[in-house]
Symmetry: C2
Amino acid sequence: MKLRPDYLIVAMERLKATYRILAPADEVRARTEAVLLEQTIETPVSVGNRYPFVREQMMGSVLELTEHPRGGFRAVLSLPVVTASIDPAQFLNVLFGNSSLHDNVELEDFELPARIASMLPGPRFGIAGMRARLGVTGRPLTCSALKPVGLTTEELAGLCAGLAAGGIDVIKDDHYLADHPFSPFEERVRACLDAVAEVYARTGHRTLYVPNLSGTPDQVFRQAEHAQQQGAEAVMIAPMLLGMPLLHELVRSRLEVPLLAHPSFAGNLRIRPATLLGRLFRLFGADAVIFANYGGRFAYPKEVCGEIAEALRAPWRDLAPAFPVPAGGMTVERAPELVEYFGLDTMLLIGGSLLEATDDLSDRTRAFVESVSRAAAAFGAAP
Amino acid sequence: MKLRPDYLIVAMERLKATYRILAPADEVRARTEAVLLEQTIETPVSVGNRYPFVREQMMGSVLELTEHPRGGFRAVLSLPVVTASIDPAQFLNVLFGNSSLHDNVELEDFELPARIASMLPGPRFGIAGMRARLGVTGRPLTCSALKPVGLTTEELAGLCAGLAAGGIDVIKDDHYLADHPFSPFEERVRACLDAVAEVYARTGHRTLYVPNLSGTPDQVFRQAEHAQQQGAEAVMIAPMLLGMPLLHELVRSRLEVPLLAHPSFAGNLRIRPATLLGRLFRLFGADAVIFANYGGRFAYPKEVCGEIAEALRAPWRDLAPAFPVPAGGMTVERAPELVEYFGLDTMLLIGGSLLEATDDLSDRTRAFVESVSRAAAAFGAAP
């Protein structure tokens, strides 16, 4: 048997991507062909046609063009895997690079070719791995945040101790916590790890403290190394602020602990939220993804939040499921409703509503934790 | 005189940011306060008020709230520099992190405090530095792109030679060119540098070949190092694909040559294009910024393109002006119009329209270069 060059084998696989295109019916075919061109050869077709390899392998095609249930049209494009599988940045580039600049094109979804799944193998820990670290099964994880920015290290560590003593599972830095003069990164990590360790020694309750990493790639890599050396068992980044390729490199080469992803700067990239925060964040390796929940400070519709959660947990090749972390103006009182809507494999994040407790922070935290446990028991018992 | 802690001095400076807020008149004040909270303490006000430093320094304020000429309202917020000046990612986070998730808030603009200008000093070369490298004054620079993706190294080097022989100033990789099996990065860089060097030796005409860097931070840093070692005199990245903090680190610690920024994945982040592509890309250090021009493949209005160009070149503290690079479906025939609209301190990028020449690529390139020179002379002579 004669061996073919690698790229010819690869070229047989295709990246299928679905877009929503807002255009009048008599223009949508041309609009779709333009998107195809933009995401592939980005030159006039006559230029592509001159080169046999380009003509046969790189042009892609329009597989389907139908009406979209939410208005406009649904276009399924077949794109060359050979360009998308070169590196994580090129994957995003081929999926939605220049077309993101068109105000009438949205990325809806994509099918994951094997070649890209081997480049981007997804979460290393996921739901099961994080549960194993905490020894928690059968109920959602509970999570809170250290804020507001401006507190001293001592004040933050005090909040940590109070939340941990109340039985919370996970405490993450607010995404505004960075290497500030009033609470330097290394000092904060040490103090917060000590605070949760002290509670563990005293009560046997285990809490993960999750520092936020921020800055340029070198700063983030140094923070990741330092946090792990100090014993941090998870870290957080905001992938859209720092770059999705950095997320990939962090989880593949720099981290031996789970990673929480924060949605800051994810804005409206004209990518369906479940595709960006659910599928792409999971694919790039996030073990848990925070998103703005319905009914809080943000205006995400309930069904969009459900779609994000499902995208994070749904069976998908060999990718481990990741925790959905609904957040943003949640209250202790809403815990039962959220457990019922998102189910047990969820991490419920309540920040301000715990911190504004005028009574004891630990008591308020305990009320949250117990409410989640009760709701989980009821959920488990439901028909 | 008693010295105050650093943060108290810093705290006297404020980051003034302007947003466009789409809300009914009777809700806009509450909506604006919510944006302020989101971009500062991100907890209920009662929580912030407990801590004197937070209350006095971190809460920010609403400076103005007026009707916006394009509809909705214009809100000017005062935000704490102390959080925004910690690292380049936090600057973006404080400017438009979580608020980018609100579908009724757009970032319009910002004023640059001294503290942030010293963290982000902008282009290292800018227009003057790039002109000096090429020895070109008094006219726009001419630029073309190597594409489509899928060509072999030999084919790309052949295009390079043809474009350089036609007198082009700058040849950039297409943003889809990465480390592909049919044209590996290192092989391509060598071959393209050789191609332009050969034309220089033969004709005395100097062309900059600009390789595209793509991948994770480590991959990009390795490519940057390799390209410079080989003699590349400029490089290109797509900052929104790779992460804005990476752009900063690249220009501050890894590059001794100018950087071109590509707009791929810049989508509609609900940031005014002139603010994102003009002010932010320049502030983070791009020496030239490619953007989708009016009247081409993209639907950017003419005045938006003019605003982007102005934002890149306008006097702004000590920041060097950067080249605007209008692109995307431009044609040789439009060169005079574009010179007239964008002026002399512009880099005109024409890709497909040169490459589709069925006659000689060098002839077609020469026609473009001469057309720009003639238009520049007319522009210079204009009253």
